[in-house]
């Protein structure tokens, strides 16, 4: 069992996300994260799915995904040189005074941005790979994390290769 990052290029049509996501659940896969948005080609979207499974099962899921009419191209970028990022927003308890400055210090170390300041809270924005986000999250936890939201991972292959379509 290992983690796979699957990049799926799809037609930007109604119901396409349900088709893709439904396929995973029907075959008993838990999606670790899923991110979707438009991409470089008008009329298409790119879905980045992180999923855990053994190679045979992942291979089967990829083939099944390929059968969907609205799926144009699938790339398993786990094995390839790639960059991946995730963004998280964290609302953390930070009373004015020493607690607040400590939280701000942690944010500084992780190059996180403070995007909202409340009477007793700060909202931090952090971008990075999952480990970095996890590391900051665990440092902030003692202060009291009130809410946390993550975008899910997005990833691209490194190098000069263009859109999967033109490869």
């Amino acid at each position: 069992m290992k983690q796979h990052i699957i990049s799926v290029l799809v037609e930007n049509k109604a119901g396409v996300l349900a088709r893709v996501a439904g396929l995973f659940s029907r075959r008993g896969f838990n999606i670790e994260s899923l991110a979707v948005g438009t991409c470089e080609t008008p009329g298409m979207s790119r879905i980045t799915i992180v999923v855990i499974g053994d190679d045979t099962h992942i291979e089967q899921v990829k083939k099944q995904l390929n059968k969907l009419i609205d799926v144009i191209k699938i790339t398993d970028i786990t094995e390839k040189e790639h960059v991946e990022r995730e963004l998280a927003l964290i609302k953390v308890h930070a009373d004015p005074g020493s607690q607040r400055s400590e939280v701000m210090q942690i944010a500084g170390i992780f190059r996180a941005k403070i995007i909202d300041v409340g009477a007793q809270t700060l909202v931090l924005e952090i971008t990075g790979d999952s480990e970095k986000i996890f590391a900051m999250e665990s440092l902030l936890r003692p202060y009291g994390i009130l809410e946390l939201v993550r975008t899910g991972r997005v990833a691209l292959q490194r190098g000069s290769l263009g859109s999967a379509l033109r490869q």
Binding site: G15, A18, G22, E59, K63, Q64, N66, L68, D70, K73
Partner: protein, 567 residues
């Protein structure tokens, strides 16, 4: 400016796709379509339950090789199509299902007779569409027919909201041309390097067997299959879906393999050193315990669907492509020729001689003998449509099919109630053929209302009910694996002849062996539909049988040398 309604565009588009017949059932949301059908040059067959419409479209498609079309209203009508769509999906049958829908403004509102049919059928269609603009209807229909009937065939559903059907658009605004399907490019031609590798394996095999499935029928590859088999003297076993791909009496044909396959087919598979799977998917009813399936064999797997390769069995040589094209290339590229292993053929012949299918002549009405007699009277011709259960297995085992598309049966989904309406559809596809439905008393009652359709359109289908007053296949499992605790499988007697009569259909009840021949002749000679209610030996089982989870060589109810059986 010439204006057209969405419904008119729909009918036009269907005609452009060459549709001649639709099986359907009207309702509120599809009133605009029915209004168009009132004077359209398109045959509409009114069934008595939407499930029958989709099964009939499926039977039509399987008999003709063309795309079958069914039509239902929204909500309950659409939901009644589901088991039929799933049936077509499992057996890769090209159908287009048209459903009505509430107006777009009311979608998601729990409106009267609303159901999210595109959501519901997502996992059981090859693709589906919800059309939101009348201008898109033509392109959607075109795409749907293309998707249904190419690559690995399958069902496509088009959901049509009522306001889209009534909307008026200018003729020149209707989108036309070739639909752009960037994500759908089926591979038809096999890779020549792979084909060469496959041929090498064949040259070097000592105990080769071809395992042919429904893909051979769909792709029209029967001739190529026989040619390849004869080229190298390769024994051929077929799946339930592949019956008819090679004539039953062909010397290389081993009949069906798997759970209720012939002993000799299962022995041949178990002993083989090369398995050539063509348009088959290593289904659990075929392989039995997968880890014990063809353990000594290298595997060549030819399939049009890349997802089938490696799904259950990892092949040594995978070839993605259309069976007809790949087999033709194989024959073309073969450098050697001639029987590759005489001793193996002798061995297979010996198994066949020593372990034939069991037929008993003890004065009781045995279903096997009825099927054999029917096969004899029709000289292995006609179109045989089965229901699901024991009736299906007896028909599959004992009918002597000669050609592809002669055998129509719900394989993957095993849908009871499929056969009778599918037979109606098959007859509309091939009105010159004798169409016989082989049914059990259980499955026949699942769509028995179609007697009305048969009567109304004078469909001359011959209904052969193998009546044991049981849900026989389940009863068989209860007998063998549940201590004979026959839980809810006994059915009270039904006067099927009386029911047929009420619909104005002729029928005859058969209680004894000496009536079988005459009864079948009467039904076949009769000009119109005819029902035969055979009261068969109630305890008859389907043998041989591979218990669930066992290896296919571990059959029970095997033939022994005393002419009886082991069970």
């Amino acid at each position: 400016m010439r204006m057209k309604t969405g419904a008119a565009i729909l009918i036009e588009s269907l005609k452009e796709e060459g549709v001649e017949i639709i099986f359907g059932y009207p309702g509120g949301a599809v009133l605009p379509i029915y209004d168009e059908l009132y004077d359209a040059e398109l045959t509409h067959i009114l069934v008595r339950h939407e499930q029958a419409a989709v099964h009939a479209a499926d039977g039509y498609a399987r008999a003709s090789g063309r795309v079958g079309v069914c039509l239902s209203t929204s909500g309950p009508g659409a939901c009644n199509l589901i088991s039929g769509i799933a049936t077509a999906n499992m057996d890769s049958v090209p159908i287009v299902a048209l459903t009505g829908q509430v107006p777009t403004g009311m979608l998601g509102n729990d409106a009267f007779q609303e159901s999210d049919i595109t959501g519901i059928t997502l996992p059981i269609t090859k693709h589906n569409y919800l059309v939101k603009d009348a201008r898109d209807i033509k392109m959607t229909v075109k795409a749907a027919f293309y998707i249904a009937g190419t690559g690995r065939n399958g069902p496509v559903l088009i959901d049509l909201p009522k306001d889209v059907l009534t909307a008026k658009v200018a003729a020149e605004e209707v989108l036309s041309g070739e639909p752009e399907l960037r994500g759908y490019k089926p591979t038809l031609k096999g890779h020549s390097k792979q084909i060469k590798k496959a041929l090498e394996l064949i040259y070097n095999a000592k105990k080769p067997v071809i395992y042919a499935g429904g893909g051979v029928i769909t792709s029209g590859a029967s001739e190529e299959l026989i040619q390849l088999a004869e080229f190298f003297c390769l024994p051929v076993t077929t799946t339930l879906m592949g019956l008819g791909a090679i004539p039953a009496d062909h010397p290389l044909n081993l009949g069906m393999l798997g759970m209720h396959g012939t002993e000799y087919a299962n022995y041949a598979i178990s002993e083989s050193d090369l398995l050539i799977a063509i348009g088959a998917r290593f289904d659990d009813r075929v392989t039995g315990k997968l880890s014990h399936f063809a353990t000594h064999a290298k595997v060549i797997h030819i399939d049009i669907d890349p997802a089938e390769i490696g799904k259950n069995v990892n092949p040594d040589v995978p070839i993605v492509g259309d069976a007809k094209s790949v087999l033709a290339d194989m024959i073309c590229m073969a450098e050697k020729k001639g029987c590759i292993s005489e001793p193996w053929l002798e061995q297979v012949k010996l198994w066949r001689k020593n372990h034939p299918l069991r037929v008993v002549n003890d004065g009781k009405v045995h279903p096997q003998n009825i099927i054999r007699k029917l096969s004899e009277l029709l000289d292995g011709g006609g179109i045989i449509v089965s229901e699901v259960g024991q009736n299906q297995m007896w028909a599959a085992q004992h009918y002597g099919f000669k050609k592809p598309r002669q055998w129509i049966s719900s394989g993957g989904l095993g849908t009871m109630g499929y056969g009778f309406p599918a037979a109606i559809g098959a007859w509309f596809a091939k009105p010159d053929e004798t169409v016989v439905v082989i049914a059990g008393d259980g499955s026949f009652q699942m769509n028995i209302q179609e007697l009305a359709t048969v009567a109304q359109y004078k469909v001359p289908v011959k209904i052969v009910i193998l009546n044991n007053m049981y849900l026989g296949m389940v009863r068989q499992w209860q007998e063998l694996f549940y201590d004979r605790r026959y839980s809810y499988t006994e059915l009270p007697p039904v006067d099927f002849v009386g029911i047929a009569k009420a619909y104005g259909i002729q029928g005859m009840r058969v209680d004894s062996v000496d009536q079988i021949d005459e009864a079948l002749r009467t039904a076949l000679d009769y000009d119109g539909p005819y029902l035969l209610d055979f009261r068969i030996d109630r305890g008859e089982n389907v043998y041989p049988m591979v218990p669930a989870g066992a290896a296919i060589s571990e059959m029970i109810g095997k033939h022994n040398h005393n002419g009886g059986s082991d069970i």
